[in-house]
C-alpha cells in the first residue's frame, strides 16, 4: 500500500482506460480486476468486434475449419468494462490525462494502457492495392474476405512475402488444392526470422507441397482487368504471372500515428517503455501513468544487453499485458519487470515450427538434433559464444531445454553431446541472415537499441 493511500484510492475508485481492445488489452483488463481494481474501466477499440484471437486467422480460418467470427477470445472472468468499440482513439493529452476519440468524445484516465498493436503493411502502390482480389491479413474482416475468395476456387493465388504469415497462407491454399505462387525478395522463406540455413528447409517444404516458389525477386506491378479485378503480377526478373487473388504479406506497421504530437515516445518503431512497461515521453523521461503492452511496445531486455526489443508474438502480448496491469496498481517496490523469453510458433505444410530466444541475433547455427533433410530437427543459434535462440521443426519437446540454455547464457556451441546428433550437426555453420538493413517480414523480433556510436539520430525539439 502506498504511504499516502493514493494507490488504494486508485484501486477503489480510479479510472483506467485501455486503448486497443485485443489480446493484450483484454488480458490486461482481466488482470486488473483479478488484482482488485474496482474502479471504472474503459476499453477503446477501433474494430467493431470484441477481442478475438489472430493466430487462427491464417490457419484454421483459411483452411475452412473455423470461421473468422468465431475466434473470440475466451474470458477468464468478467471485466465489467465500458466498451467503446468501432471508435479509434485519435489523440492523447498527457497533461490533462485525456484520450480523444474519433467521434469527438474524450475519456479521462488516472492510468492509461496503450495496446494498439500493429497493422498489415499495405501494398505500396495505392491504385493497385485497391484492385478487387488484393488482400492483406491482419484482422477478422481480412480473414473473412480472403477465405471467401479462396472458397470460390481461384485459378491461382499469389502471395507476396514469405514470412510466417505468407507461408501459412500458401500452405492453406495448397491444402485446399489451390495453385499458388509465392514471391519473396530474399533467397528463401523465413530467412529474416530464422536465417538461410533454416530458410532452405522452408523452401523445400514449399516446393514439396507444390508451391511455385520464386525467391530473389520482387513484384514490381499488379495489373487489373477492365472491371478492376486483379489478374496479373509483374516481377523484377521480367516474368509475369496470372493470378486472380493476391495476398500482400509484407510485415507490419505499428499503430502509433494517433500519438503524434502528444509528447509520448512513440514512433514507427513502436512505443518505448521501461522494463516495467511504463512508457517514455519524448524527453526520455519515464511516465508514471501511461503503460504499454503487446506488439506496439518496445522494451529493454536483460538477455539482449538491455537493447529495446519489439516482438510480434502472441505470448509476449499476454505476458506483457499481465505485467503492465500488475505494475499499474503497484508501488514501485512491488513492480515486476517484463523479462519474458521470446517464444513463437507457426504451423505450415503440416510442420510445427517453434522458436525461443532471438534466432535473428544469431551468427551461427548448430543442428543439434535431427536432420534438416527429414524436416525434423532442432537448430541452436549462437551469438558471441553464447546460445541466443533455438528453433524446432517438429521437435517441440526439446525446446524447453534450449530455453534454459538461453536464459542462463550458456556457451555456444553447447559442449555436451545430445541424443540424435547427426554428422551434419557436429560443427556450427554460419546462420546466414540477410543484411539487417534489408527489411524482412514479420511476425518477427526487432532489436532497436542504440549503440553508443550510433549517431544517426538527431534530436529536434518540436516547437509549439
Amino acid at each position: 500500500m502506498s504511504a499516502d493511500g493514493s494507490l488504494d484510492r486508485l484501486k477503489r475508485e480510479g479510472r483506467i482506460v485501455v486503448v486497443g481492445a485485443s489480446l493484450a488489452g483484454l488480458r490486461a483488463a482481466e488482470t486488473l480486476r483479478e488484482e482488485g481494481f474496482a474502479g471504472s474501466l474503459t476499453m477503446i477499440g477501433d474494430e467493431p468486434y470484441e477481442p478475438y484471437d489472430r493466430p487462427p486467422l491464417s490457419k484454421q480460418v483459411l483452411l475452412g475449419r473455423a470461421t473468422a467470427d468465431r475466434t473470440g477470445l475466451p474470458r477468464h472472468r468478467a471485466i465489467d468494462a465500458q466498451w467503446r468499440l468501432g471508435v479509434p482513439a485519435t489523440g492523447l493529452d498527457m497533461a490533462a490525462r485525456r484520450v480523444r476519440l474519433a467521434d469527438g468524445d474524450e475519456v479521462e484516465y488516472d492510468r492509461l494502457l496503450i495496446a494498439t498493436g500493429v497493422r498489415a503493411r499495405p501494398w505500396p502502390q495505392e491504385d493497385e492495392a485497391e484492385l478487387d482480389g488484393v488482400f492483406v491479413l491482419r484482422t477478422r474482416d481480412d480473414a473473412d474476405a480472403l477465405e471467401r475468395s479462396l472458397a470460390q476456387g481461384p485459378r491461382r493465388v499469389l502471395v507476396i512475402g514469405a514470412g510466417f504469415t505468407g507461408s501459412e497462407i500458401a500452405s492453406a491454399c495448397r491444402e485446399r488444392g489451390i495453385a499458388v505462387t509465392v514471391a519473396e525478395r530474399a533467397d528463401a522463406p523465413l530467412v529474416g526470422a530464422l536465417g538461410g540455413v533454416v530458410g532452405e528447409v522452408a523452401a523445400e517444404l514449399h516446393r514439396k507441397h507444390g508451391v511455385d516458389l520464386r525467391c530473389g525477386v520482387m513484384v514490381t506491378r499488379l495489373e487489373g482487368d477492365s472491371a478492376g479485378h486483379v489478374r496479373a503480377a509483374h516481377f523484377s526478373d521480367g516474368n509475369t504471372i496470372q493470378a486472380d487473388v493476391v495476398v500482400v504479406s509484407l510485415g507490419a506497421q505499428r499503430n502509433t500515428e494517433w500519438l503524434a504530437g502528444s509528447g509520448l515516445g512513440a514512433g514507427p518503431r513502436g512505443i518505448a517503455c521501461d522494463a516495467g512497461c511504463r512508457a517514455f515521453d519524448i524527453r526520455g523521461i519515464v511516465t508514471d501513468d501511461i503503460y504499454v503492452a503487446g506488439d506496439v511496445a518496445r522494451s529493454p531486455h536483460p538477455l539482449f544487453g538491455y537493447q529495446f526489443l519489439s516482438l510480434e508474438h502472441w505470448g509476449n502480448a499476454v505476458a506483457q499485458a499481465e505485467t503492465a496491469a500488475h505494475n499499474m496498481l503497484s508501488d514501485s517496490a512491488d513492480r515486476r519487470p517484463h523479462i519474458w523469453v521470446p517464444a513463437f510458433w507457426s504451423s505450415q505444410f503440416g510442420v510445427n515450427i517453434k522458436s525461443v530466444g532471438v534466432p535473428s541475433m544469431g551468427t551461427e547455427i548448430l543442428i543439434a538434433q535431427g536432420s534438416r533433410s527429414e524436416h525434423r530437427f532442432t537448430g541452436v543459434y549462437g551469438y558471441q559464444g553464447r546460445v541466443i535462440g533455438a528453433v524446432t521443426f517438429d521437435q517441440t519437446k526439446w525446446l524447453q531445454f534450449y530455453q534454459q540454455l538461453i536464459e542462463t547464457t550458456a556457451p555456444f556451441p553447447p559442449a555436451f553431446p545430445t541424443v540424435d546428433r547427426r554428422p551434419e550437426g557436429q560443427q556450427p555453420m554460419p546462420a546466414d541472415f540477410p543484411d539487417p538493413s534489408v527489411p524482412t517480414h514479420g511476425p518477427t523480433v526487432t532489436l532497436s537499441g542504440y549503440a553508443p556510436d550510433d549517431r544517426r539520430l538527431t534530436f529536434t525539439p518540436a516547437r509549439h
Binding site: E50, D53, P55, P56, K59, Q60, L63, R65, A66, R70, T71, G72, L73, P74, R75, H76, R77, A78, I79, D80, A81, Q82, W83, R84, L85, W314, G315, V318, A343, F344, W345, S347, F349, G350, V351, N352, K354, R376, D394, Q395, T396, K397
Partner: protein, 77 residues
C-alpha cells in the same frame, strides 16, 4: 463456448484430441488445430481436456449459462 490454446506451451501430446476429437485434431505429426468455438453441450468433455492437458495450455471460457458477462452486457456501452 470459446477456447484458446497457448501453442507456445502445447507439446502436442494429443491428450485433448483423444478426449474431444471433434474440437481438437492433430495436423501433421505435432501441430494442433482446434475449433476456437465449441458447442456448449461439449462443456464436460472440454473440462476433461483442460484437466488432461499435461502443460495446461487450454483455456476455456469461464462461465456460460447465465450469458457470458463479457459479451452481451458489456458490449455496446
Amino acid at each position: 463456448m470459446r477456447l484458446v490454446v497457448d501453442l507456445n506451451r502445447c507439446q502436442g501430446y494429443a491428450q485433448c484430441a483423444f478426449l474431444a476429437p471433434d474440437v481438437f485434431a492433430m495436423h501433421g505429426d505435432e501441430s494442433l488445430l482446434y475449433n476456437p468455438e465449441a458447442e456448449e453441450d461439449r462443456r464436460e468433455d472440454m473440462a476433461r481436456a483442460v484437466a488432461a492437458c499435461p502443460v495446461q495450455a487450454i483455456t476455456v471460457e469461464a462461465n456460460s449459462l447465465d450469458g457470458n458477462p463479457g459479451t452481451d452486457r458489456e458490449i455496446g456501452r
